[in-house]
């Protein structure tokens, strides 16, 4: 919120002027009010392995994170460039593999990757779209610099919190939105539905049937699945509702089976089709991959896009962007050491206490080492794992991550944040909702923002200036 010299940064000026006039006790009461609102509407998050807290709230902080319109325009260009490159990369990887022939990307990277699906080779999804919905995790590292921390091309979650956080802020501080002009996010569900419909297969009629596939009410993101289906006016289905009938994926309705044209699936590839992938999956639909390959259904995101989530692939993103767009990347990567490379491994082992080390296929903040805050023992243990399988890890510097203030009992206090904008791709183009989900580490000094590990969220504003 502030510059190094203590002055308020430009985008925050109007907000700060408003905040200074608010009674701190009232603000705290509003915090309780917001929490009750979340509980009542059931905006909850299931945490694996906690019995008594089956449904938890993601803590919501009421101080918005604010980005100027100018800065956002710059960011959007970088995000769009990156997402277009990702989509082209997926197509190439499953067709001619020019990027490997050209020597820019080592073949072992995806050959060893479980997310790479041989079933997708030579097949082009409807509209040639692989990454229908992408979440790009960004961190601010300087006054004018954002870097990409991660690309989420599999099934990025959190968009419902982006929408609900805004609704909550507008419900609690309507007068604030009259004073500060913020670009709206509320049309995301409508745009998502339109974007998915635009990716429907040729076999679909003028009004394609869209369904959201959820693993069920015990999944950690169930609330979001139900919310998106509701907001889009789409069906919310589980694997047991679906069956392949007459070469189409159909849902069991009260009036018999009805075909689905676009399936926005929130289950992993592995669980999609027990005939093709994990034979023990009860979440999936036997035979859906055959229907898919026959061009009779759109699966979003396309199976096999998880390759792009891989952190070893991530380290090649600058090359990937340049290869497919012919332009220099507008958004830089965070420096990354690939531990598969012996020189890098040596450096990482020598500097474990200063680095963040992540599993290549990991997600959700699990299985990582944060050197500066880890105990000696933890570093020792991690060293063994790293030495045993170096190709499983990458390392990054602990960044001078930017902070945003949160409201604590003792007033405002800085905490580390990241930002996940949500991007939609269809043959009609790329659309980025202004803002996204700001995740915030609630513990002082902590760098882990994942909600599965006690992180919170904020409303994210892009100013209409």
């Amino acid at each position: 919120m502030e510059n190094a010299d203590g002055t308020v940064r430009a985008p925050y000026r109007d907000y700060k002027a408003w905040l200074d006039k608010q009674d701190p006790a009232l603000m705290r009461r509003k915090g309780v009010e917001a929490e009750n609102l979340f509980r009542r509407t059931g905006i909850t998050f299931n945490v694996y392995g906690e019995d008594d807290a089956e449904e938890r709230l993601i803590p919501f902080d009421m101080v918005p994170r604010i980005i100027s319109g100018n800065e956002w325009r710059r960011l959007s260009r970088g995000i769009e460039q990156r997402v277009r490159a990702l989509n082209a990369f997926m197509h190439d990887l499953y067709h001619r593999q020019e990027i490997i022939r050209s020597g820019r990307l080592p073949e072992r990277l995806f050959r060893n990757n479980d997310a790479w699906l041989p079933q997708m080779v030579g097949f082009t999804p409807p509209g040639a779209v692989y990454t229908h919905i992408v979440g790009i995790d960004l961190v601010r590292t300087g006054p004018d610099e954002f870097m990409v921390l991660e690309d989420n091309a599999r099934t990025p979650s959190g968009v419902s919190y982006m929408l609900e956080n805004r609704e909550t802020m507008m419900a609690m501080f309507p007068e604030l939105f009259a004073q500060v002009k913020v670009q709206p996010v509320s049309n995301y569900p409508r745009k998502l539905a339109a974007s998915l419909a635009a990716c429907a297969p040729d076999s679909a009629g003028p009004k394609p049937t869209i369904a959201v596939l959820t693993p069920g009410i015990y999944n950690s993101a169930y609330y979001e699945h139900a919310f998106l289906a509701d907001q889009m006016g789409a069906e919310l289905v589980e694997g047991s509702d679906l069956r392949v009938v007459d070469a189409k994926v159909q849902m069991r309705t009260t009036d018999g089976f009805r075909p689905i044209d676009v399936l926005y699936r929130r289950v992993d590839d592995d669980f999609l089709d027990p005939l093709t992938f994990n034979p023990n999956s009860v979440l999936g639909i036997p035979g859906i991959m055959d229907v898919y390959r026959a061009g009779n259904i759109t699966i979003a995101n396309a199976p096999g896009t998880g390759v792009a989530d891989d952190k070893a692939i991530y380290s090649f993103m600058p090359e990937i962007v340049e290869f497919y767009t012919g332009e220099k990347p507008l958004l830089p990567n965070v420096d990354t050491w690939r531990c598969a490379d012996p020189d890098s491994l040596k450096y990482v082992l020598d500097n474990l206490d200063e680095l963040v080390v992540k599993e290549v296929h990991g997600s959700g903040g699990y299985g990582m080492l944060i050197g500066p805050t880890a105990s000696k023992k933890k570093i020792r243990d991690f060293r063994k794992k790293l030495e045993a399988k170096p190709e499983n890890y990458i390392a990054q510097p602990t960044l001078a991550l930017s902070t945003c203030p949160i409201l604590t009992r003792r007033g405002l206090a800085p905490r580390h944040v990241d930002l996940r904008p949500f991007v939609l791709c269809s043959p009609d183009g790329v659309d980025i909702t202004p803002g996204g989900l700001t995740r915030v580490a609630l513990k002082k000094g902590s760098l882990v923002v994942n909600s599965s590990q006690g992180g919170g969220t904020k409303d994210s504003w892009v100013l209409d200036d």
């Binding site: 009542r40 509407t41 069920g216 509702d241 069956r243 309705t253 009260t254 018999g256």
Partner: protein, 327 residues
């Protein structure tokens, strides 16, 4: 035109699984409410009679709820506090009011995109508030307000349904579930007390245990309506007539069947066809239509009620089959 005469053919039939969830969500809400009513009446009876009679009363409440043998596994007395705790919140009772509400809420959550925000909030908030109220054993002095809260939470959910839901399939399944459950509950309450009516029928002029019958009426929220219609008269014939055949009373068997018939007819119109559910409904209807209370007593009240409960259950399974609740 009533609520259900909708001129639209079905455009987007709902998922069979969701229909099942809706059906059961409303059954559990209805059952929770009726259980609270039954407890309130039982409690009143226990307060106004001696210990012996109070035990008998609690026993019959547990029988009505189908919980007697499970209860006897845990207690060897029929103290009010024990019975109420068992029925309302005991972890050893999977059919407790708290777990019924929890199941209603789980069902609501599983078909969240088929109900309105108002209905979801009513069920979710109802569950949250009952979870708090029933976190500890309920003190005697507090029992009535807790029972009132249970009725109120169910009523709110039903009201939100009535006021905000589209009159489509979802609504018809919700109503079918509500009335099917209510018919079952009314029949069970009557069946547990049917023997009280018998002596008064056999011997004309025998004094009816009016306290007992007041209590049956009370457990169906029917005492004032009955008095209003019968000007203080209390006889076996008119009580049975009222609770079984009077289509004005919304908890009578005839009223519940009429509502089920209407909602099944609405489903048939939407789907453009009838099936096993409608056949089962018609078969069950035959037991009721055109009958007088004398016919029923001639057949035997107990036999009549047992057959009614079985026929009602077969409608439930026919609905589940016809509308593909399960794969």
């Amino acid at each position: 035109m009533t609520d259900l005469d909708i001129p639209f053919a079905i455009e987007k039939p709902m998922l069979g699984r969701t229909a099942g969830r809706i059906f059961w969500m409303y059954r559990y809400l209805e059952r929770a409410e009726n259980t609270a009513r039954l407890l309130a009446a039982g409690h009143r009876m226990a307060l106004t009679r001696g210990a012996e009679e109070a035990s008998v009363e609690w026993r019959s409440v547990l029988t009505t709820l189908g919980l007697l043998s499970m209860y006897e596994d845990h207690y060897d007395d029929f103290l009010s506090a024990h019975v109420c705790d068992f029925v309302l919140r005991s972890k050893s009772n999977p059919e407790s009011v708290l777990s019924m509400f929890e199941r209603a809420r789980t069902n609501a959550r599983a078909c969240r995109s088929s109900i309105t925000l108002e209905v979801w909030e009513a069920v979710n908030e109802g569950w949250m508030s009952l979870r708090d109220l029933l976190a500890r054993p309920v003190r005697d002095s507090n029992l009535n307000s807790v029972l009132a809260a249970i009725r109120r939470e169910s009523t709110l959910a039903r009201g939100a349904t009535h006021g905000t839901m589209l009159r489509n399939e979802v609504y018809s399944f919700s109503r079918a579930g509500t009335f099917l459950e209510r018919a079952d509950n009314t029949a069970r309450i009557l069946d547990v007390k049917y023997y009280l009516l018998l002596p008064s029928l056999a011997h004309v002029g025998t004094a009816l245990d009016t306290g007992q019958w007041d209590n049956v009426l009370r457990s169906l929220s029917a005492e004032l309506a009955y008095r209003w219609l019968n000007a203080g008269r209390m006889d076996a014939r008119s009580i049975a007539d009222f609770l079984i055949l009077d289509v004005r009373f919304p908890r009578s068997l005839a009223f519940c069947f009429s509502a089920m018939r209407d909602n099944l007819a609405a489903l048939a119109r939407l789907h453009g066809k009838e099936g096993v559910a409608h056949e089962a409904m018609r078969a069950a209807d035959m037991r009721l239509t055109g009958k007088t209370v004398e016919d029923i007593f001639d057949q035997g009240l107990h036999e009549f009620l047992l057959e009614f409960i079985a026929a009602n259950a077969s409608i439930a399974s026919a609905i589940s089959e016809e509308y593909r609740f399960v794969a």
